[in-house]
Amino acid sequence: MTGVPLSAYLVLALVLFCIGLYGALTKRNAVIVLISIELMLNAANINLVAFSKLGVTPSITGQVFSLFTITIAAAEAAVGLAILMSLYRNRKTVNVDEMDIMKH
């Protein structure tokens, strides 16, 4: 059976992860930063699922874990956005650069 090799999935995950990372560290809009983080989590999920099928000991566990990850990501997105809203109400901005009251 000539399927897609494991490394192809891993490379795809790597590329997506790097894009997400770049976005998370450079974008100024807090919403985009959050979304970029979601992308990174997705890349990790690809790895989990890929190993669950093409790993040394294939098993369903990888998929189960990816479900957990998705759950956490969803919770994180919800809480993150809630924080963002609250912040926006107080400071009238979603610009990450201006969120620096914790300095010094």
Partner: protein
């Protein structure tokens, strides 16, 4: 390696996913960025299908393409944005970051490149949802319950955080 349908599907989906990511970085309007990412999420769901994880693929479409994207769009709409969101970071910082990311990618790629795991036949695609259900409610029941608590906490937390602070509003 002969070109199989699976391979073509993979390349197609991967291309769309990466394209979505790149658009996320390059587009200037915030809403466009989120829309671009929907494509990525969808194609990742396709990838899951290729990896015989139907249930995860469905969940991916429901949660990411559906729920999270919508929540994000609401977030965007509820806040005020400048039309064009260009990165403000200095050129040097971005250069270093790119360098670091490239280094990271190369390092990880070297690890991936050397990976050679023989493919074993699996039965993941047979009654995938049932398998997951059995695992989830037998072996992973405690994490599952913990997860439900987490969701509840997140729910309550999000509501508390996002709730309009009436008293404070009155005072000011």
């Amino acid at each position: 390696m002969s070109v199989s349908g699976e391979l073509i599907a993979f390349f197609g989906l991967a291309l769309v996913a990466i394209l979505g990511g790149v658009l996320l970085i390059t587009l200037t309007k915030v809403v466009h960025m989120v829309i671009a990412l929907v494509f990525t999420f969808l194609s990742i769901a396709g990838i899951y299908l290729l990896l015989s994880a139907e249930f995860v693929a469905i969940v991916q479409i429901l949660i990411y393409s559906g729920a999270i994207t919508i929540v994000m769009l609401f977030g965007i709409m509820l806040t005020k944005h400048r039309e064009n969101d260009e990165p403000a970071k200095g050129g040097w910082q971005r250069f270093f970051l790119l360098l670091a990311i490239a280094g990271f990618a190369v390092a990880v790629y070297l690890g991936i490149y050397n990976l050679d795991i023989p493919v074993q036949p699996t039965a993941l695609h047979e009654e995938n949802t049932k398998q997951i259900g059995i695992e989830l409610f037998s072996k992973y029941v405690i994490p599952f319950e913990v997860m439900s608590v987490l969701l509840l906490v997140a729910l309550v937390g999000a509501i508390v955080l996002a709730k309009k602070d009436d008293e404070e509003g009155d005072r000011s």
